[in-house]
């Protein structure tokens, strides 16, 4: 190893006396010099129209006179399920996206939330409004326990622990007859006033709105910044004074709370809960929809979750009125549509769009937020391919 520096440096005292200032750093991109883009009246009207259209689709989906879709009763139920899946996707996004860890046992988080809320409503005879916070609290607690393990194990080993926890919950926890009704499952009545699928959908939307708000504020405040720092570089994070362990645990608790809420709603939505629902396949679906949606991209995760929720049982195909087309051209039954589209979306994420759907729709979402339409808006993304493949 050679060290070219010398120790013999002539230094004049006067040099040190005269205070020289560091030259200001000048940004070489002149992005800010150019007046920021402001859409004109027509531009705003166009954006407003698209916003209104989106709102119309979201709010009118359960089918009233104004609904863009002609839905069967069962499809309305699936709309609620889509909103619930969005909550679950956001829950998993906190872990995978923000904290940079993984959970292959998320179905257990959701399942515990569901059974706790069912227990609270059916066996304890309490109101639904109490069942949700209790399910959320229990969800947060179990997540904290699993999070404590994650402080000791990382990567593949921790993934295995979450997988094992999921299986344990499915086989053992949900087998406790007094708690879950065992094999036979459990009836869960809908909350009073939200008995029908239409009003229940709006209830789910309301909860999704709350979760979205919390997620947004999380990212923009102390906790979210701490999580980003510790995900990217735990050493730097701790040198900023961030308690890496405490904030990792916080991410687990937040994720568990969201999952608990999702589980409670899922129990009410299906009105009949059986342990087998919460198998490993569901955990994979949750991870898939979150990653395909786009880690750390709120809108992307919601869309991804909704797509995967609707792909199951072919609801999306019914909604888009392409079942006849699919059947006649390629002879693909609606139920199997998901098996084709799901892996395709995953491949897209793993190759071209590590930012998932969030990255794919970036040109549109940026435009909707009042920026110029730019096909390459999603080019710079925080999520790298390696991030997703890891």
């Amino acid at each position: 190893m050679t060290e070219p520096q010398t120790a013999e440096i002539p230094k004049t005292e006067s040099e040190a006396e005269s205070t020289r200032e560091l030259p200001p750093v000048v940004a070489d991109q002149l992005d800010d010099e150019v007046a920021p883009f402001r859409p004109g009246v027509a531009g705003w009207l166009a954006r407003g129209a698209v916003w209104a259209l989106l709102a119309w689709v979201v709010f009118a989906i359960p089918g009233n006179v104004l609904s863009p879709f002609h839905l069967g009763v069962s499809d309305v139920g699936h709309a609620s399920k889509a909103a619930i899946f969005a909550i679950i996707g956001l829950s998993l996004n906190v872990l995978i996206g923000y904290a940079g860890t993984i959970s292959l046992g998320h179905q257990a988080f959701v399942g515990v939330g569901g059974f706790v809320s069912a227990y609270v409503v059916v066996d304890m005879g309490l109101e639904f409004w109490l069942a949700v916070p209790i399910a959320a609290a229990v969800g947060g607690l179990q997540a904290a326990l699993l999070g404590a393990v994650s402080l000791r194990l990382t990567g593949l080993y921790f993934a295995l622990v979450t997988l094992a926890y999921g299986v344990f919950a499915e086989e053992t926890l949900f087998g406790i007859t007094a708690f879950t009704g065992g094999e036979g499952g459990k009836n869960v009545p809908r909350p009073i006033g939200f008995g029908d699928d239409y009003s229940f959908y709006y209830l789910c939307l309301a909860f999704l709105a709350v979760v979205l708000w919390a997620d947004w504020r999380l990212v923009r405040t102390k906790g979210g910044r701490a999580l980003q720092a510790l995900r990217e570089n735990p050493r730097v994070a701790s040198s900023y004074g961030i308690d890496v362990k405490a904030y990792t645990l916080m991410a687990f608790v937040v994720s568990g709370i969201f999952a608990g809420i999702g589980g409670a709603l899922l129990a009410q939505q299906s009105t009949f809960l059986v342990p087998e629902t919460f198998d490993f396949e569901l955990a994979l679906l949750f991870v898939l929809m979150t990653v395909v949606g786009g880690l750390r991209n709120r809108v992307g995760v919601v869309i991804g979750s909704v797509i995967f929720a609707l792909l199951e049982e072919g609801t999306l195909v019914h909604l888009l009125h392409i079942d006849g087309f699919l059947d006649s051209t390629i002879g693909l039954p609606a139920e199997f549509f998901g098996l084709v589209v799901g892996p395709f979306l995953l491949l897209l994420t793993l190759t071209l769009y590590p930012g998932g759907i969030g990255q794919q729709i970036a040109p549109i979402s940026h435009w909707l937020r009042g920026r110029k339409f730019d096909l390459h808006a999603g080019k710079v993304t925080e999520v790298e391919v390696a991030d997703v493949r890891a």
Partner: protein, 263 residues
């Protein structure tokens, strides 16, 4: 009372003694320089002081209080701030965002309150961004406030790092090669900036650097490490001309070159 006092520090990695009976101290408002060839143990010493490594033997005291067993973030809370040799910043955010993140301990609300969106959190957030802008202004970095860290050149990042560590509100600043990636002119200016910062924030500074003129120019006291041992210590001029130091840097024969062309 000295701000930092390291006594008889030992640490081993496998068979290698990275630090061997190292003792050093930094008094209030002092600038202490640490020089030494690559692999001398300078950064290892920093890692012990900040808590990334646990020394196998020895004591580290901060203002008389033993901190040898404290975790990193608690040392930061006490007022020990550091920069990293290869830039310690959150790369996927903007410069300004980094400075806000670094104000973690000055953020006066609970993370849960932040998540629920309590009204107080919004005003606190704007206070933090205001402070970040102030510090960036001070280090003449306002122009890159909204640039992504990953897009900026190394030399600029070294300066961003100084602004960021100031955001943690330190008392004792540990700078690991703040002048690397800078030319000699810039390094001199950096030295003056450090003197200014010491005055403005009342800092005690311990600094590692290969720019010997920078270190000797601003330091009140200099340690030279070699193979994990303190080779020489004393006033900058004494250390610079110490025969052992010259030998460690240049081999047996002291050469007539200046460092300027090598930086």
């Amino acid at each position: 009372m000295s701000v930092l006092e390291v006594t008889d520090l030992n640490i081993q990695f496998g068979g290698v003694r990275a630090l061997d009976h190292v003792s050093m101290r930094a008094g209030e408002w002092e600038i202490v320089g640490i020089i030494g060839p690559n692999g001398a143990g300078k950064t290892t010493l920093f890692n012990c002081i900040t808590g990334f490594y646990r020394p196998s033997k020895g004591k580290i005291r901060y203002r008389g209080k033993s901190i040898t067993r404290l975790p990193v973030h608690k040392r930061t809370a006490l007022g020990i701030g550091r920069t990293f040799q290869n830039v310690g910043l959150v790369k996927n955010t903007t410069v300004a965002e980094n400075l806000v993140t670094a104000q973690h301990l000055q953020t006066n609300y609970d993370p849960w309150a932040g998540m629920l969106g309590g009204p107080a959190t919004f005003s606190e957030e704007s206070r933090l961004s205001g402070r970040a802008a102030q510090l960036l202004e001070l280090l003449q970095l306002s122009d890159v406030a909204n640039a992504r860290v990953a897009d900026l050149p190394y030399g600029v990042l070294k300066r961003v790092e100084i602004a960021t560590v100031l955001a943690t509100d330190p008392d004792l600043l540990l700078l690991d090669e703040p002048g690397s990636g800078m030319g000699p002119e810039e390094a001199h200016a950096l030295g003056d900036t450090l003197l200014e910062l010491r005055k403005e924030f009342g800092l005690t500074i311990v600094m590692i650097d290969h720019h010997v003129p920078l270190v000797t120019g601003v330091s009140d006291y200099v340690y030279c490490l070699n193979f994990g041992e303190v080779l020489a210590e004393g006033k900058p001029d004494e250390v610079r001309n110490h025969p052992e130091v010259v030998r460690a840097y240049l081999g047996e024969e002291p050469a007539e070159t200046t460092s300027e062309e090598y930086v």
